[in-house]
């Protein structure tokens, strides 16, 4: 079980879903908050779902207020950076570039990628945390630096 958890986590890094910031968060876990990273991840997905919804609604209205869209994505990118969500962060950056260029089609296309990476990460992390909980709090292996 421990090995499986470690391998799953390693693959998340190897495939570029997570970056070193996730490890920084894990290092903040202690006996008082043994599930700190999972709590942070839960908050991230709750908050980012709200942002996705706001952007979806703005795009569905057909109103390309690029400043507003950029502002939403700035928040989304910031949160993604804080949790180490590397692929999501990259797509957020692309979206913001299209906002700056005033490219509506680019925004629409990139936003689909943002949602796709976000959903994939959510699924993978939920699976990881579920296994990690089953393995026990002390058994979560660390990626060697």
């Amino acid at each position: 079980m421990q090995r499986q958890v470690a391998l799953i986590k390693q693959s998340l890094f190897d495939q570029g879903y997570l970056d070193e910031q996730f490890m920084e968060l894990e290092e903040l876990q202690d006996d008082v908050n043994p599930n700190f990273v999972e709590e942070v991840a839960t908050l991230y997905f709750k908050d980012s779902a709200r942002l996705i919804n706001s952007i979806d609604q703005a795009l569905e209205r057909g109103s390309f207020d690029f400043n507003r869209l950029d502002n939403y994505m700035h928040q989304f990118k910031g949160s993604s950076t804080s949790i180490g969500a590397s692929k999501v962060k990259t797509e957020c950056t692309m979206f913001r570039e299209y906002c700056r260029m005033g490219n509506a089609e680019g925004c629409l296309r990139t936003f689909q990628q943002v949602k796709k990476e976000h959903a994939t990460l959510r699924k993978k992390l939920e699976h990881y945390f579920q296994l990690a909980r089953q393995a026990g709090p002390k058994e979560t292996a660390r990626r060697s630096k």
Binding site: E27, D30, S79, I83
Partner: protein, 136 residues
């Protein structure tokens, strides 16, 4: 306050009282955890206006203020300027995004910061900086 050399220290010897100013609840949780991990205590403000109110109401004297740059109602630049006008003597460290350009960072520094750090914040970034600022 005795301190170890940079890179050796896991915690700050002096118990720092820190105000964390950020509109992102995720950042607030993470930065609070970092401050606790290095032996400090913290209070949070969800935006610059709250930070000003905390000081106006005669709130605690903070050793350090971590100031996010982009916030609604009152941003980090405006808040820093206001706090310095109020003669707040705390160390104020600005927290910027990598997307911010040199001009934006300079404007933030000129508002009255002691230093600037780029997100994401980590223990490795904060500890040497606090030591450096306290030794200065």
């Amino acid at each position: 306050m005795a301190t170890k050399s940079m890179g050796d220290i896991e915690k700050i010897k002096k118990k720092l009282n820190v105000l964390i100013v950020d509109d992102d609840p995720l950042n607030l949780i993470i930065h609070e955890k970092i401050i606790k991990a290095i032996g400090g205590i913290s209070q949070t403000a969800n935006n610059g206006e709250e930070a000003v109110i905390i000081h106006r109401d005669g709130g605690s004297s903070f050793d350090l203020i971590l100031m996010d740059k982009e916030m609604p109602e009152r941003d980090g630049v405006s808040t820093t300027k206001k706090l310095r006008e109020m003669e707040v003597k705390s160390m104020i460290v600005g927290v910027t995004s990598l997307a911010d350009n040199e001009e934006e960072r300079r404007a933030f520094m000129e508002a009255g910061l002691n230093h600037c750090l780029a997100k994401p914040l980590t223990k490795d970034k904060i500890i040497p900086l606090i030591n450096q600022l306290m030794d200065a």
